[in-house]
Symmetry: C2
Subunit: 162 residues, 2 copies
């Protein structure tokens, strides 16, 4: 599954080369490979997983390159870096601007939530404690409709959430 299965979505998808150029990053075959994969796969992935997945079709893609590319893209703001419980650092392709994510705890499907209406709330709470310049980070998670239909169990129902 070199990505050709997603032809419909990929057809009008963001062009990796353009993204690289627009960020002032040098365009290389490896970076296109990695970025394409991240764009096609909205869900978050670790460097290791991505490398394993890409390796068959790109035998000479080194693990170090995957790490370096993901870091470069994250530094450039193209990817999100996520630090989950348990797993190593995950990366996710991410639209620009302020927004939040709703993630399925079972299959890791991601929904981007635009129109965040929490800024006012954050402002209010912060001000109540004498804080200024509030920022807020929110991660919503749940079980998506598909997984629910499949009767998936919720492994982290007991998590201590903040």
């Amino acid at each position: 599954m070199t990505g050709s299965g997603d032809s419909q979505a990929a057809a009008r998808a963001i062009d990796a080369t353009e993204v690289l150029v627009s960020r002032g990053l040098r365009v290389t075959a490896q970076r296109i490979t990695v970025l394409d994969a991240m764009i096609a796969e909205r869900d978050d992935t670790t460097a290791q997983a991505l490398h394993e997945r890409l390796r068959p079709a790109h035998p000479q893609l080194g693990m170090a390159t995957v790490y370096r590319t993901l870091n470069a893209l994250a530094d450039a703001g193209v990817l999100d870096r996520l630090h989950h419980e348990g797993t190593s650092t995950c990366y996710r392709y991410c639209a620009p601007g302020h927004h939040h994510h709703l993630t399925c705890r079972s299959c890791h499907a991601v929904v981007e939530l635009r129109d965040c209406d929490l800024a006012t709330w954050a402002q209010h709470v912060a001000a109540a404690h004498g804080f200024s310049a509030p920022q807020h980070a929110v991660e919503l998670s749940g079980i998506c409709a598909d997984c629910r239909a499949r009767g998936v169990e919720d492994a982290s129902a007991h998590a201590h959430t903040h």
Copy 2:
């Protein structure tokens, strides 16, 4: 050592032994040492940092024990596990129950926010996308009144927040 300045706060602090007993954890000198340190030090710490800090006064406290103790306490819900950018896993002493934190980006002062009123919001957003069993994690940050008075700069004003 460095923490003795907090004597006032520490004086009427939570009793480590009681906490351990109440969670059904066996009471040992090492666990008391670690938990006491975490209670006294509200800011988050890594296992490594804690070990280094405690080692001088407790020469025979092994690093593995620090890791094991922090994990046991986190599993028991006594500590929070935090996954920051850059650093390894941090731990923080944390009141029980669902709540959020408001952290000063300058001095790392932490305010616990009780009475979280976001559950309804989360429920609503999740349902709108077909998700069930919503959980939400929120980290609020800002510049606290003290730091503001001191004219502190906001180092992370450009952060990409979600």
